[in-house]
């Protein structure tokens, strides 16, 4: 079989930086091709070239054997290349109805005339939704009322209009829950059997293991592996970073269960949730996992003074902890690295050192006047200790790769003494090397503090945590120590459904 789309010997540089060096891949109909690489490895650049965002690259792209050259994203689109972006809401118009969103191209096509033909739009929408097996009871519902996963399926369905040659999905599961992910995979399976060629970009290795027929790895601008089914995550990791092993391993930081520092007593997080009882001890890193909706983030918000619990008590070092605001939580030594770095943590116009000092400006001040040297000295120290790769502390944060930005965000909260550190999905969109650095640094710095890591990804949790707790719809399902991990049991706890609760 001949590949439907090929990229051959693609090279691309930005000034002095060589982003891609002679990368070649072939994509076949009816195959899911996973494209993998650490942040900054060059995979986004490759995708952008295929989508027509860059004109000035070396090498060539062939579609069904024909050499093509794109001058704009529209060119690439016309040639049958479709991309569904990571940010789901960029793919839909939330204020428009389901039908309108599905038939959006129709609506925008000048050939369809000025009149708004409601019935026609509906019919077209159903035709477009059909290959994805999507149906809705109310097609007039605004998309803003739908779940993330429905929105995404709508944009995928729309991108399939006109029998595309290649469908590129960029981190499609990054804002989906596990259940929604399963649903997406079902649909992708269906598309594969219909003969669509899919390029699947993801950081989540277990998804790739599950889904991919082939996987291409880029590392440092070079193609470092082209694997075929069965794709093993160890092989992927080895190709991505070489030296790092993600399997749980013993680390020198032996868990000396210290005294209890943080204690939840009959804490009810949300109305209707069962009470939580939990003790976190000095010097331990606790991983809390569970699906979206399990109540992880809500618990973090309570500890961080952003929300009030329904009832119950929190004790920090034996004293009741009732932060009425974020700043009072910080004063009490509770720090939070929030989920969603770019929207909730980073100030894009600020330099690395300005981003670092933000929560603790008072300590860099005298009579409200900032002391620049003190600020820079601290920033230098943190950047060095965490191995942040940047052009110095005055570089804009946006010039750093995602993993390095995350290092800065974590460093922000480690530069001052804390008692409890909450990390909410700290490794989303972070390459494995940076993740490893961050975890290593945490372990090195930890004395008698408590670290609570919230993450849906089990691999991430298992890598970082001394103790794993599973939350399911507000209920604490159980816990495991890192030296006695039973994955099947954990997955069971995570995925137990409502009806099974009743029997438990």
């Amino acid at each position: 079989m001949n590949p439907i789309v090929e990229v051959q010997q693609i090279s691309k540089s930005f000034g002095a930086t060589q982003a891609l060096r002679g990368v070649s891949f072939s994509f076949f109909s009816g195959e899911i091709f996973a494209l993998v690489g650490a942040n900054g490895a060059g995979k986004s650049t490759l995708i952008k070239i295929i989508c027509g965002y860059y004109e000035d690259y070396e090498g060539e792209i062939r579609i069904e054997g024909q050499r093509v050259r794109f001058h704009s994203p529209q060119d690439s689109f016309r040639q049958g290349i479709r991309t569904v972006h990571q940010i789901i809401d960029q793919g839909v118009v939330p204020t428009m109805s389901i039908a309108e969103n599905l038939a959006l191209n129709e609506l925008l096509d000048p050939a369809t005339g000025l009149r708004y033909r409601r019935q026609h739009i509906r019919t077209r929408a159903q035709e477009i939704a059909e290959p994805m097996g999507l149906t809705f009871t109310n097609w007039d519902l605004p998309v803003s009322d739908l779940s993330q996963s429905d929105r995404q399926l709508i944009s995928i369905a729309r991108s399939l209009v006109g029998e595309p040659k290649l469908l590129i999905l960029d981190e499609p599961t990054s804002s989906l829950s596990t259940r929604e992910t399963d649903r997406l995979f079902e649909k992708l399976d269906q598309l594969r059997s219909q003969g669509v060629a899919i390029v699947y970009v993801s950081h989540r290795l277990h998804e790739i293991e599950l889904l991919a027929d082939r996987a291409g790895v880029v590392r440092d601008g070079l193609k470092s592996a082209d694997l075929t089914r069965p794709v093993k995550s160890q092989d992927l990791v080895r190709a991505m970073v070489g030296e790092i092993d993600t399997t749980p391993h013993d680390h020198p930081h032996a868990v000396q269960a210290g005294k209890v520092r943080l204690e939840l007593k009959n804490l009810i997080v949300r109305p209707g949730d069962p009470p939580l009882n939990l003790q976190l001890r000095a010097g331990e890193i606790v991983g809390l996992t569970g699906l979206i909706g399990a109540g992880k983030s809500e618990l973090a918000e309570i500890l961080y003074g952003m929300r009030e619990p329904v009832s119950g008590e929190i004790l920090l070092d034996g004293q009741p902890l009732k932060p009425e605001s974020i700043s009072s939580a910080i004063d009490k030594g509770v720090h939070l690295v929030p989920e969603d770095r770019s929207n909730r943590a980073v100030i894009p116009q600020f330099s690395v050192n300005q981003n670092l000092s933000l929560p603790f400006l008072r300590s860099f001040c005298q009579f409200a006047l900032l002391k620049p040297r003190k600020e820079q000295q601290e920033a230098d120290r943190m950047v060095r200790d965490l191995g942040v790769k940047c052009q110095g502390i005055h570089a804009l944060i946006g010039s750093l790769s995602g993993g390095n930005q995350q290092k800065v965000v974590v460093a922000r909260w480690l530069q001052r003494k804390f008692r409890v550190l909450l990390l909410d999905e700290p490794f989303q969109g972070v390459d494995i090397k940076s993740r490893h650095d961050i975890i290593q640094y945490l372990r090195d710095q930890l004395h008698d503090e408590v670290v609570l890591v919230l993450a849906a990804d089990l691999d991430e949790i298992l890598e970082v945590a001394d103790r794993v707790l599973v939350l399911n719809r507000g209920r604490l399902m159980g816990e495991q120590n890192r030296n006695s991990i039973d994955r099947t049991q954990l997955l069971d706890w995570i995925s137990t459904t409502e009806t099974q609760f009743a029997h438990a």
């Binding site: 974020i326 700043s327 400006l361």
Partner: protein
């Protein structure tokens, strides 16, 4: 310099030179060139007295522009500053001429009113979540109407006849008029000094205190700033309070300069002030509101208008020129800097 780091989006630091230089200093170079050109074409341009008359000409809206810079920094915009200044003109005249009050109390009342309007703006924006442009636009109309009410829509001057037919007995205190008409050492106009002092204070607050840093952070990413523990809403309200207060200072200086509570005195102030602050984005290519840029922007307009007027440019083309400069500098700031 450390080795360039690779970013996925691309862009390196090696082909700086020309473009970076243009972005950074282009605006200042254009300004210097204009200055040089006017000086050569019209010798009177370069006299000391003309320098001060340029500065005096921009002082009022320069002050307003420095105030509105705060709201721009927190990613808002205060459109009510022109009418707040006008309100301050009318209220201070009313206090002194009609109510026969002293200068100090009149000025204090004006400043408090300005702060109050700012507080109201801030509360509407923060608590009721009305978009800033709409809030301050509404407030602008409200105050434009309000300022007409005390004097029943008439200009207030000393000895004016009041509604009941009696003559107003109050007067503008000479020490008050000094604020607008006086000159330090007989040379430097007082409003210019006030503007420079305010500029210095604004610069210190925005660039060298944690308050300013937090305000810039809010402008960059309010959610991240909130999660870093800053009282974001309080800061946003304060930005509008400062903007309103500074606008009323501008109004006070305006009455003191003309010695009449002119009903039309606020016209044009808003656009001049916002224009100067926006032109300020281009200075040093920083692409964000900054007090130095605002001051330079105001001076730039002043230099341009003074020079062109001396070269017998008709007065009615002034607004056209100002608008052109504003649009050009915005193009310069956003288009050129984005491409880098």
């Amino acid at each position: 310099m450390p080795e360039p780091t690779k970013t996925e989006k691309g862009g390196t630091s090696t082909n700086w030179d020309a473009k970076q230089f243009a972005i950074r200093y282009g605006f200042l170079i254009v300004m210097a060139a204009l200055y040089l050109m006017f000086s050569i074409l019209e010798p009177a341009f370069l006299t000391w007295s003309n320098q001060f008359s340029i500065l005096l000409g921009i002082a009022i809206y320069g002050i307003l522009a420095l105030g509105v810079t705060f709201t721009l920094v927190v990613d808002g915009l205060d459109l009510s500053i022109g009418s707040v200044a006008a309100l301050s003109v009318m209220i201070s005249s009313y206090c002194m001429v009609v109510l026969e009050q002293g200068a100090v109390i009149s000025v204090i009342i004006c400043l408090l009113l300005g702060a109050l309007v700012g507080l109201l703006n801030g509360l509407l924006i923060v608590k009721m979540k009305i978009p800033d442009l709409l809030t301050t636009l509404g407030m602008m109309f409200l105050i434009q109407g309000l300022q007409l009410i005390p004097s029943a829509g008439r200009t207030i001057s000393e000895g004016m006849l009041m509604e009941d037919g009696e003559e107003a007995l109050g007067f503008f205190d000479p020490s008050f008029l000094y604020l607008g008409q006086g000159r330090l050492f007989g040379v430097i106009p007082i409003p210019v000094i006030v503007m420079l002092v305010i500029a210095l204070l604004v610069y210190i607050v925005l660039d060298h205190t944690r308050w300013g840093r937090v305000m810039y952070a809010i402008g960059g990413n309010p959610e991240a700033t909130r999660l870093a523990g800053a009282p974001v809403n309080l800061y946003r309200i304060m930005a509008y309070v400062i903007s309103g207060t500074i606008a009323s200072i501008g109004g006070v200086l305006l009455v003191a300069r003309v010695g009449v509570g002119d009903i039309t005195s606020g016209t044009g102030l808003l656009l001049d002030a916002v224009g100067a602050a926006l032109i300020g984005f281009a200075v040093f290519g920083v692409r964000r509101p900054n007090p130095f840029g605002t001051l330079v922007g105001a001076i730039f307009i002043g230099v341009l208008l003074s020079g062109l007027t001396m070269l017998s440019l008709p007065y009615y083309t002034q607004d056209f020129i100002k608008g052109g400069v504003l649009v050009l500098s915005l193009m310069f700031t956003f288009a050129l800097a984005k491409r880098s």
